[in-house]
Structure formats: C-alpha cells, structure tokens
Amino acid sequence: MDLDYGEAAEAFRAHVRGWLAAHLPAEPLPPMDTAEGAAAHRDWERRLADARLSVVSWPAEYGGRGASLLEWLVFEEEYHAAGAPGRIGQNGLFLLAPALFEHGTPEQRARLLPRIARADDVWAQAWSEPEAGSDLAAIRCRADRTDGAAGGGWLLNGQKTWSSRAPVADRAFGLFRTDPAARRHTGLTYFLFDLRAPGVTVRPIAQLDGRPGFAELFLDDVFVPDADVLGEVGAGWAVAMRTTSSERGLSLRSPGRFTAAADRLVGLWHEVGDAGDTALADRVTDAWITARAYQLRTLGTVTRLAEGGALGAESSIDKLTWSELDLALHETALDLLGPEAECRDTGGWADGWLFALAGPIYAGTNEIQRGVVAERLLGLPRGRR
C-alpha cells in the first residue's frame, strides 16, 4: 500500500501546472450562463483541447491522451488549485461520454466525442419532468415511431424540466417512453436530440444565483433519427444508470476541487480567523480533514477500478460526501468572513455557497443516495417509501 504517484504522474503534473500558469485567463471569465460568458468558456475549452488537456483520460482518437485515472486526478488537482474556469462542457464530458464509451456505436463515438472534447457541442440534461423527479422511472415524455420524409426515426413529445445548461447548450440527452404499455423502468429509451430542432421550446429558469443555469424544455413532435438513439430501444434505464453513477461518483466531482477549496479555506482562516474562536477553527479543521479523506478514498477507488473493479452503488457514498463537504466548506468560509460574507464579490465564497446548495439535490437527492447506501451496501430491507 502506498501513496506514491510515480514519476510519470508527477511529470504530467508539472506539465499541467506549467501550461495553466502560461495560459490561464488573467481575469475570471464572465458567468457561463450568459451569452458572453458561454462564448468565453467555449473558447477556453478549445484552447484546452488544442493542448490535449480537455479530456486527458480519453483515447487519442477522440482528443485525449490516454491518461490513467490517477493522471486524471492529478490534472483535476492542478486545474482546481489554479482556479481555472468551470467546464461548460461538463454534461457531455462527464455524463454523456461515459455512456457513449459503454453503450455507443463506433459511429456515434466518432461523431460525438471529438465535438464534446472541444465544446463544439455543449450538452444539456433532460431527465426530470414536472411529475418525475426523484422517482425518475415515472417519466411520461414519449417517443413514437415515425417513418416520415426525413427517414426512420422518432418523434419526441412532452415536457422536461431542471435541464441543466439548456439555455446555452446545443443538444440534450435524456429518457423517453417508447413503449406506453410497459411500466416503470422498462420501455424507456435514451435519446440524443438537438435543442434547436423544430418543435423544441427552451424556457430558461433563474436559479438561486439569479442566472438561468437550467430551463424547462417543451417538445412538440421533435424528430430524432435512429442514429441518435443511444443503446437499445427499450433499454434506456440501464444506459441512464451508467450516466448517473458517473454523476454521483468519480467523474463529476473529483477531489481536487475540494482539496483546493479546503486549502483556500485554511488560507482564509489564517488571513481573517480569530485565534480565540476555537469553534470556527474546529470547523475549518474538520472540513480540511474531510477533503483529505475524500481524496484518499478516491485514490482507493482508482486503485480498485484499475484492478478491474466497478464503481457501482459505492458512488452514493461519494455523492453524499462531496455534496455535504462543499456546503461545509462554503458555510465555514462565510462564517469566517463575518459581516463581509453578505457581499457577493468577497472572494467568490457567497457564489460558491449558492452553487453548493444545489449539491444535495441534483444527481439524485441525498435522500435517494442514503436509500441506495442502506439497501444496496448495508443490505437493509426495502421498506415503504
């Protein structure tokens, strides 16, 4: 058992650190939910892709460099420690791509992955519906077979909501009911569709931070060709579960994000903390310890995956951990800042807090995750909901 990253990973770390130091924007980019910010973030993604740093763990043919999971963690540590921009392509990079690698056809992979890697396509999620949130299998949006002038395909109808990034995105992925007679998890199919296609209406919704980070989607006979069905017709649930286990676990929230925030919190404590306030000092310490624990746990996960293990229900532990840790980090920082905490421009902590508030809700609420831990990891009986 060791924690030695090895020469190759450390050399890669030096490369990433050097590249970021030379290329990081001098000023923070405008928020990515605005037109100006979206353009700036897409431009940043193209610069990352040109340096083959946007998708380091992907094979070279799709724009990556075939890096190991450990090297990907190293990239993430450096990326977040440098305070580099948020990833506008996140949904495609971390949620759709794992499903494409596992369930996509070679044609789909060749067509879609390089465009994700360069943020040529920014993807939105289309899971939730007004009547299907935590109970995702209750979705009602339909896809009906059509053989119209445009060739064989499907017509999507219904309403999706809380569609992250949809106001600035190009395309969306989500589940639709292809067999109206089938119940719950069966008869669902995973579709990829164009947000600018005829019949799509995107209504942006302001989030807590005042910006339109997600949207409602109204779909009225939206045509999708067969080529944009991911996985088998009727097998969408299994494909979607692949996506959500990535979202819960390793790929969406790598530990580098939180170790960087914990180090900034310790810095803030040294800067403004009251040495006599042991209660706050303890919260700073505990947040740092939890970030370190999550980092070590992830190194254990990476070891397990490298030796042929699967992510599985364990990812619910990760989701509970990072979402609560993110809140603890930001709440502690706000308490350290005293009256200044209210000001949105003080070090980004208030905006970070607003963002962190969503963590326990999205990617499967923390109540859903605790249910997964209880039933699938502890073997407790499945009770009444």
Binding site: M1, D2, L3, D4, Y5, G6, A9, L70, V266, H270, T278, A281, D282, V284, T285, D286, W288, I289, T290, R292, A293, Y294, L296, R297, L299, G300, V302, T303, R304, E307, I317, L320, T321, E367, Q369, R370, G371, V373, A374, E375, L377, L378, G379, L380, P381, R382, G383, R384, R385
Partner: protein, 328 residues
Amino acid sequence: MRFALDAEQRQFAGSLHELLADAAVPTAVRLWADGDPAPGLAVWKQLAELGLPALAVPESAGGLGAHPVDLVVAFEQLGRHAVPGPVVESFVAVPTLLAEIGHREWLAALADGELLATLVLPPHVPYALDADVAGLVLAADLGTGDVGQLATPAGGPERSVDPVRRLFRPGPARSLATGVPGAVARAFDVGVLACAAQLVGLGTGLLEMAVAHAGRREQFGQPVGGFQAVAHQLADVHVGLELARPLVHGAAVALGSRSGTATRDISAAKVAAGTAAYRAARTALQVHGALGYTLEHDVAFWLTKARALVSAWGTPAVHRTRVREALR
C-alpha cells in the same frame, strides 16, 4: 500508486476476524469488567499465536517488524470485536518506545505474548490501563522525553465510563532513559494510530450489530430497518466509517515512510475515527432502543468503549490542534 490492502493483508484481517468471532469475546469482556481477566487473557494467548504482539517489535529483537499498515489492519479487527485489555499499549506503544530507546530487555517476552505491558503518557494518557494484569508498566513524558518504569499499582482501579477499561493512577517511577522526546513522540504517534484503527473497528462492529437488529426487529408490520428514519441514520454511519478508514490507512502509509506529514495525518485519522465511531455508537443505541440501554445486550460494551477511546490517546481538541498547526 496502489492505495488498497494487498491480498495478504486482507487474509490477515479475515483470519483475525474468524478467530475473534469464535472466541466468545463478549463473555470475556463481561468477566474482564467484573475483575476476572482469565477468559480475556485466553483470547490474548490466541492472538499471540497469530503473532499480534510481535508486530511492532523489531525483527532484530525477536519480533516481526511489521509495517504500520499491518498494525492498523489488526487493530481494526481488535476494535470490531471489542477485545479487552491494553492492546494499544502492550502490542504497539510499549514495544515501539522500548525499541526507540534501545532498551531491549523485555522485547522478546512482549513479542511472544508472555509479558503484557501498559503505560502512562501524561497529559494525554493519564492512567495506566489494566495495570493489574500488566507485568510491565512504563511512564513517558512527551515534553521532557523521560522514560521510566512504574511499580505495579497498589490502589485502584478508578472507574472508567467503559467498565472493561480498568484505570490505575501512576506511582513513582524508576528511570530508564532521559531526554528522548523523539522516541516518546514516536510511541505516542503509533499508539494514536492504533487507537484510531481500533475506533474504526468499533464503529464497524456497532454498525453490524445495528444493521442486523434493524433487519430482524419488526414494528408496524415491517422490519424497522425499512423505515427511512432508521435506514438513513445507518447510511450516515456507514459513510462516516468509509471516510475514516482511508485516513487511517493513509496515516499508516505516512508513518511507515517516516513522512513529514505523519503526525498531521495520524491526528486527522484519530479525529475522524472518533467522530465516526461515536456516531455509530449513538445510532446503534437508538436502533436497539431500550434493548441497547441494558447491560444484558453486548451493544452496551461497544458503546462505552467508543466513548472512552474518543478521549483516550489525545482528545479530539488535541488532535484538531495538531492538524491545524501542521497547516500553517
């Protein structure tokens, strides 16, 4: 980088778990609390056959010179089964201290399990645990770095919140070494690490008992573990333990490589392990209901040991301060 136990370490943990599961430890625990250590000492004899007391003794002194990761693997199982007696002191802290000061007289007997030892390390370890069963009682001072041998106590024991922990006030010491603070600090660190691993094990044992009970006990026509109010508390206990364990393993790796971060990492592990184990204890009690609030059920002995170990080998405040000082 390979951050996982190897096959041999997993097998070692498995053998230890099987041995302890078959050893009627709960009975030994109750008798130890009543002042009859004989069944507990019989468990210790079995542990000696697996080489436990030899782990922290250097090979040159007749021991196994094991890596700290092997130590924490063992201590997690000792905690999981709430093995009575001065395990941290006799298996880890005293052999480390004696080896560090080059005092080899007792090491072979310790490694064989023929000699049991305990120690005080004021202010963090103020009482000599189970000194009445120990053939060797040491005292070490973290500040001055002085090490001495104490006479077997005449009075006592003091009552611990854990009836299985018999605490004795230290008497006068005969000097063994002076001015060796590095050796004392190393003995303290390895003791804290072992205690953290023991806490993770205690928490795991408590969670196992609570999950088994919640799956069995029916109310309102279903097992209580099917109610979210119960299930989610148990899930949170599991999450806490699953995060504390990598901190313990990471600290063992750091100590084994004599890394500059070892002290910080050991303290972080002790804080997290104590928090996770105590949460497990409170939740296990709640899940057992009134049954858990009796001395007729074993869960009581795991519960009180968890509380005792949260304060033993440095309080959470002491260890949070050590972490914070390393983060300057």
